[in-house]
Each structure stands twice: as C-alpha cells, then as structure tokens.
C-alpha cells in the first residue's frame, strides 16, 4: 500500500560539494594508512588542504546565498541556507585548527595517529549534515556520524589510560542521550505525521494538536531537548563533560568543545526556531531553566577545580548557557537572538581553539601536565605564551575590547530587548562569577613561581592556532561589525 510513495530523489551534487570533498579526503587518508610509514607531515597537510577546499566552496556559496534565500536539497532532507552555511564555515575553521593541534600533539608519536585525521574529517561531515538537516532522521544520522567519530577520537591516545576511560564514558552516555533524542523524534513524528522540519512546521500551523496527540508532541519535544541538551552539555545533562574533556587528548577536546557544540546548537536552533515555532510557549520556559542552570553550574563548579582542562570544560558549560540565553531570546518575535547566538558560537569556537592550543603546548608530548601547577609562573618560563593565554582568558571572561565581550553583550542585549530581564540578570551574575576562574589561572601564571623552570617550546602548528585566535579575539573586539554583520544575515529557508 506504500509503494506509490517511493521515488528516488533528485540529488543536487553541485551543492553538496563541501561534503563530497571532505568524504573524499577521509577515504584517501584511510587508504593512505595502508601504505605503511608515510612522512609525518602528509596526513595533517592532506586534512588541512581538504578542509580548505571545502571552506573555499562554502565561502563562495555563502556569497551566492547573499542574493537568495536558500533551498532544500535531496528531497527536502538538507536545507542550504545562510544559517547552514554560517555554521558550516565555523565548523570547517574548527577542523583546520584541530588538525593543526593534532599535528603538534603527535610530533614524536609513532605514526599511530593517522586514523585520527580521517575520523576528524568524517566527524566534520556529520557536523555539517547536522547543521543543514531539514529532516529529523538526517539530523540523527549526522549526530551519530559526528558522535561515533568523536568517541573513537576521545579514546585514541593509547599511552594514557584516562583516554580510553573518557572514550567509554562518552560512548555510554552519548548512546544513552542519542536514544532519548531518537525516542523524542519518534513521538514528534507520531504527533504531527511529518518527519521533516518544514513538514512539522506546516502541520502544526495547519491544525491544532489536541488530546493524546498533544501529549505525544510535548513528551517528544521534552525528550529531544534531553538528547540535544546532553550534546551541548547543558545542565543537568553536563556531568560527562569534565571527565571526557579531561581524559581525551587535548587536541580532540578542543574539537569536541567547538565543532561538536556548534553542530548540536545549530540542530537545536533549526528544529525549534523553524519547526516548532507555533509551540514556542511550551518550550521557551524549558530553555529558560536550562540556560539559567547551565550558567550557574558552569561558573560555580569551575571555581573548585585544580586541573586547567577541567576548568576549561566547566567554562565551556557556562558558555553553552550563554548561547541558550540567546536561544531563549530568539524565541521571542522580532528578536535578533538568532544572530547573537550564531555570533557567540563563532567567537566561542575561536576562543576555545586558542585556549586549548596553549594547553597542548604546556601539556607537552605526554599530554599530561594539565594541572594548575604546571601553569604556575608560565610568565617566567615563556612570557609570550602567558600573554596570549591572558588575552584569551580575558576574552572568555567578557572583558571589553575583546571578542568575548561582543559575544556576551550580544546575547544579553537580545535577552533584554526580548524583555527577558530575569535571564539577562542571571547571565550577568554568571559572567561575574565565571570571571573568578579566569583570574585564578592568570594569577597562577603571572604571580607565582614556577615549579619547573624549563623553557616551554611552542610547536609551530599550535603557535599558528594561538596567533590566529588571539588576533581574532582582538580584531572582533575592536571591530565587532566584521562578524556581527555576517551573523545578522543568518536566515533559515523561508517556508
């Protein structure tokens, strides 16, 4: 009885080029691992070249999308619009940085890291599919491609037992959250009869759901929020974050904290802002509570940590809370919350990459010296590194004339304009508490004596990432228009 409904979709290959380039690069990398011992520079340069190619294509598409509003591809499964292009570009930049960090990580390792580069590219494919998915199942597949690659990358450092432990913990809890997300998708599908986000939006606008269907829809929305809340590490689903971030190799952590979060937030924004707009009154309070809790937990728990990697993990949790403030603001009519959330994600990505690049440098080849003690007196061991880290920490704290200020000011302004005063106050208080953590690291670096007086060597690729992210933090801090004008153009495909 269903046979008439099946037909092969048209595939717009030309518009899928960024994905195809990444896929091709991943396949070549996997095959090259069979070739035996290649020079060490081959895998990172191949990864970076591939990602740059995808980045150029995406930038060209972004330029073309300036003049039109985007379209649906492959039987409405993928949406190509300014929103997906913006997020894609942020993710690809994160991939380039992560590849650079990985190559400075494994400088002396015995070539066992080749697969990591292939996994990096496949996870980027998953992330890009996720930000562009207009179909809940395609979104789930993107999420799984991203997550499965990340589980392996987290467990990939065979010399450190913590790495495998992190991989297993991430895997069990990630699978658990995916199951919740999938159950939510099933219930929303049952309630609306549509599996595509645009279809759900049409159905919900056309008819009011009542009785059992309404219950199905609400439970479904709740379960989806649990699943995506886990992926963006919103409290109370954040417990895995510090453990996994600490255990995973530092370069992988940087990638999880940036691209992983951008992808999950983009999926969340598209589903809720484009698919479930008619039910905004039901989900807005949930986002409100998540945002407030996440900021609070992220900023307060960070204070008691003694490991810089864990501190940055908690700081990434509180950043997720700020983005949720932007999401809450975006749910109000006529708000620019969407633009400020996307700008926040872009700024946060560069900050997190720079901070972890410094961590990679200080942690050394064994990737073990990440406690606050190893940052003591960094200003004496390598002043330039302490200076760069201070700039990035000031930016994360949201000090004026840094990109972090632009980001935090943006989401709080959106919240105030949407008349969500309470959440704006919570965000400001959270920012103040959070600043303590960043100052604590800085006090350690500048005012205490080093336990180890050896000079820190900066691997060249990590140096490039540090320089780029400090430059980005300052340039956006002084000329916020450069980024904000682009973020303001972000739109979904109109229905």
């Amino acid at each position: 009885m269903f046979a008439a409904g099946l037909s092969a979709p048209d595939i717009q290959w030309a518009q899928l080029v960024p994905l195809l380039v990444l896929l091709g690069g991943a396949c070549v990398l996997l095959l090259s691992t069979l070739a035996g011992s290649l020079p060490r520079w081959v895998a990172p340069s191949l990864t970076i070249a591939t990602t740059f190619a995808a980045l150029v294509v995406s930038a060209v598409r972004w330029n073309e999308l300036y003049y039109n509003k985007g379209s649906y591809l492959v039987a409405d499964a993928i949406a190509e619009d300014r929103f997906s292009m913006f997020a894609t570009i942020v993710i690809l930049v994160a991939v380039v940085c992560a590849a650079l960090l990985m190559s400075s990580h494994h400088d002396n390792a015995n070539g066992d890291a080749l697969e990591n580069y292939a996994l990096l590219l496949t996870s980027a494919i998953g992330a890009i599919v996720m930000v562009a998915a207009n179909n809940l199942i395609v979104m789930f597949l993107g999420l799984e491609i991203l997550s499965l690659s990340l589980y392996l990358m987290a467990a990939s450092d065979r010399r450190r037992e913590q790495s495998q432990e992190a991989g297993l913990k991430y895997f069990i809890l990630g699978g658990f959250a995916s199951a919740f997300l999938l159950y939510g998708i099933a219930l929303v599908y049952g309630a609306t009869g549509a599996i595509s986000i645009s279809g759900i939006s049409e159905r919900l606008a056309g008819e009011l759901t009542t009785g059992n269907k309404d219950a199905l829809l609400l439970i479904g929305i709740g379960l989806i929020l649990v699943g995506l809340g886990f992926k963006v590490s919103a409290a109370p689903f954040q417990v895995w974050t510090p453990d996994v971030y600490e255990g995973a190799p530092t370069s992988v952590t940087s990638y999880m904290a940036s691209a992983g979060k951008v992808a999950a937030f983009a999926a969340l924004l598209r589903l809720f802002m484009s698919g479930l707009t008619t039910r905004v009154d039901d989900w807005r309070p949930v986002i409100w509570v998540l945002a407030a809790l996440t900021i609070f937990v992220g900023s307060t728990m960070a204070v008691v940590q003694t490991n810089v990697k864990r501190m940055l993990a908690y700081s990434s949790i509180s950043h997720a809370g700020f983005v949720l403030v932007g999401v809450e603001a975006a749910s109000h009519r006529g708000s620019d919350g969407l633009a400020s959330s996307m700008a926040y994600l872009a700024i946060y990505t560069m900050l997190v990459m720079g901070s972890f690049a410094i961590l990679v440098t200080v942690a050394g080849q064994e990737d073990s010296a990440t406690s606050l003690d190893s940052f003591k007196g960094l200003a004496q061991r390598r002043p330039i590194l302490a200076l760069a880290f201070s700039a990035l920490l000031f930016a994360q704290a949201g000090v004026p004339f840094t990109s972090g200020f632009v980001a935090k000011f943006g989401v709080i302004k959106s919240a105030v304009e949407a008349e969500s005063y309470a959440i704006a106050v919570v965000a400001m208080v959270g920012a103040v508490i959070g600043a303590f953590l960043y100052l604590r690291i800085m006090v350690s670096m500048w005012m205490e004596d080093p336990t180890n007086t050896e000079k820190v060597t900066i691997p060249r690729p990590a140096g490039v990432v540090i320089a780029a992210s400090v430059a980005f933090a300052l340039i956006v801090g002084f000329f916020p228009g450069l980024l904000l004008d682009a973020a303001k153009l972000v739109r979904f495909v109109p229905l």
């Binding site: 789930f140 799984e144 499965l148 392996l152 432990e165 297993l168 995916s178 199951a179 895995w240």
Partner: protein, 105 residues
Amino acid sequence: MIAAIQPTNTWYLILAAVLFGIGTFGVMVRRNPLVMFMCIELMLNAVNLTFVTLATAINDINGQVVVFFVMVVAAAEVVVGLGIVVAIMRRRNGVTADDLTALKG
C-alpha cells in the same frame, strides 16, 4: 474472552515505552559496560517499535524507512563500543564502571 481481544496500536506503544524504560533503568543501575551497552540497544529497538507502530497508525512510510537507518546506526555503535571495551580490557582484566575511576567527576 481472550480471543476477542485484538492488540491495538496503543498496546505496541505501551510495550515500546516499557522496553525503553527497562533500558533506561538498566543503563543507570547496571555496572558492567557490556550490559549498559545492551540496555542502550534495547532502548534503540524500543524506539524502532514505536516508529513502526506510529507509521502504521498514520499510514505513512517514512516511519518504517527510519527503522533501517536506526538499525545501521545501532550496528555501527556496536563496532565502536566493543572496540573501546576491548582496548580497555587489554590493559586490565575485567571492567566494571566502578573500576573506571581515573577521572573523577
């Protein structure tokens, strides 16, 4: 009379919800990674049952197609999960979640 009772869609939905609940409970209570892992598979298959039931209820094919995708994802998860468990097993004999305490959250 028992013979007169025909299972309706609601029965299947409730069965799926119960299976999902058992899976959730299992992940939270059991300490063996392999068993936790089986519980996740149980949850995914409960969702599959939900999808098929709802697809029949609203007479739409998408829900049935989804099941194949979920099966493939579940299979891929097995590969990755067992790979990680084996990597840990090589270092020590026997793994329970309580032994994994190098990282304290």
